[in-house]
Amino acid sequence: MNQPICRVLVADDDPTVALLMPVALDPGEFSVVVVDNGLDALAEFKRTPCDIVLLDVEMPGMDGFAVCAAIRQSRGHDFPVVLVSGHRDPESIARAEQLNASYIAKPVNWQLISAQLKALLAQSRPAARP
């Protein structure tokens, strides 16, 4: 039986990410929606069901930490959220941990991103996605 399509919401104001992410994530396995700011990310999250959210940290309107905090308020502690950031300082990583978000460092490894997301989804929902 085919794996269900994984719905991914990506928020990043870098236009190259908007073009690369849907290519890096195989359309046969992932359905990708990209927005370019934090406010739209939260609006899209509330409007359309998704399985995992990838948030850039530094975005106009609302940063990735604030969007993640809002997601935690509405969907609880365990919904899969990944903060994708070029900030590698311990404070940023600690903030991600406090929000129970995973952390992927930029520059994104486009060859690995699909496997990274699958691994995160398997951790978060082992029964649903073996």
């Binding site: 104001d13 870098d14 236009p15 190259t16 990410v17 908007a18 073009l19 690369l20 530094e58 070029g86 930029k106 520059p107 994104v108 486009w110």
Partner: protein, 96 residues
């Protein structure tokens, strides 16, 4: 690839204008912010040397160290010109 390079060139030109304005105004916060965004997209198109200089500028900006930032400005401008011309050439040679 053309779409990617075209999007990069447009955004990078805007970010470089923002970065140059921040430099003129000695606005380290804006400087770090512009360098941060441009660094990521530059890595994504393989402009690694340019991205590494931007990383140094971002670090100097975040530390509030304009003297350190200034050291990287000339190499940045040289590399930006190289990247800009290379991308334009690729776009011209392979029109959409």
């Amino acid at each position: 690839v053309q779409q990617l390079l075209s999007a990069y060139l447009k955004a990078a030109t805007q970010d470089m204008a923002r970065l140059e304005l921040a430099l003129r105004c000695s606005d380290v916060e804006q400087l770090a912010s512009a360098a941060h965004g441009l660094k990521s997209s530059s890595f994504n198109v393989g402009a690694n040397r340019f991205a590494e200089i931007l990383r140094d500028i971002e670090a100097g900006g975040r530390a509030g160290n304009l003297t350190d930032v200034t050291l990287h400005v000339e190499p940045l401008m040289v590399e930006w010109e190289r990247v800009r011309l290379a991308v334009k050439q690729m776009l011209a040679e392979n029109p959409a």
